[in-house]
């Protein structure tokens, strides 16, 4: 079956610390993968997307980066977190005409 895994569910990190959020999908190959961020009470903002291994497109210049080391693995990183990086981060993959499947999200609080 096709599933998406995202972890951790919650994370509290100090300003200036590094970040690594991981997303993996199962049951498919060569998926389009996406990282979104949602501020409290707001819609989702597309951060990065990837159409294949090593192919990353950035939508918003910021303190974050993304990598896709394997076909079904998508990683969101930061070398030094800022307070403004706090939010709800969601990974998603496109399931063709059936829409997109989202992970359960990571709530990041930078303190």
């Amino acid at each position: 079956s096709q599933t998406i895994h995202q972890w951790p569910a919650t994370l509290v990190q100090p300003v200036g610390s590094p970040l690594s959020l991981e997303c993996t999908v199962e049951g498919t190959s060569n998926p389009n993968l996406y990282w979104y961020r949602q501020a409290a009470g707001r819609g989702l903002q597309l951060l990065f997307y990837s159409v294949g291994i090593g192919q990353i497109s950035s939508e918003v210049p910021q303190n974050l980066s993304a990598s896709r080391p394997q076909d079904r693995q998508f990683i969101l990183s930061s070398k030094k977190l800022l307070l403004s990086d706090s939010g709800f981060y969601l990974c998603a993959w496109r399931v063709g005409a059936r829409g997109y499947t989202f992970g359960s999200g990571t709530r990041l609080t930078v303190v």
Partner: protein, 114 residues
């Protein structure tokens, strides 16, 4: 960038009533999708409507699309308390079908009172 604007921002109704949410967008689209988000959770895909379709149904959901007005509406009939959630429209721009970038609106928060 955010493309969609949703109206209303918040909606409170009684169980059994119908709920209508509207979405407008700015540029030509390939398709428009509606998602639901329970508080603090991931998003769940509800329905996808293509630019050449005008109406689509799924259970108690009815979605319409008017490309001339660049707008869509989501109707939930006979609402239930369990329908309480935030609802988002999202669009795939014309020309972005390969990358499949979804651009979201700000969402409508629906509260259904028992």
């Amino acid at each position: 960038s955010q493309q969609g604007e949703e109206d209303p921002q918040a909606l409170s109704i009684q169980e059994g009533e119908n709920a209508t949410m509207n979405c407008s967008y700015k540029t030509s689209i390939n398709n428009l999708q509606w998602y639901r988000q329970n508080s603090g959770r991931g998003l769940v895909h509800l329905i996808l409507i293509r630019s050449n379709e005008r109406e689509k149904h799924s259970g108690r959901l009815r979605v319409t699309l008017d490309t001339s007005k660049k707008s869509s509406s989501l109707l939930i009939t006979a609402s239930r308390a369990a329908d309480t959630a935030s609802y988002f429209c999202a669009t795939v721009h014309l020309g972005s079908s390969n990358t499949g970038k979804l651009i979201f609106g700000q969402g409508t928060t629906l509260q259904v009172k028992p």
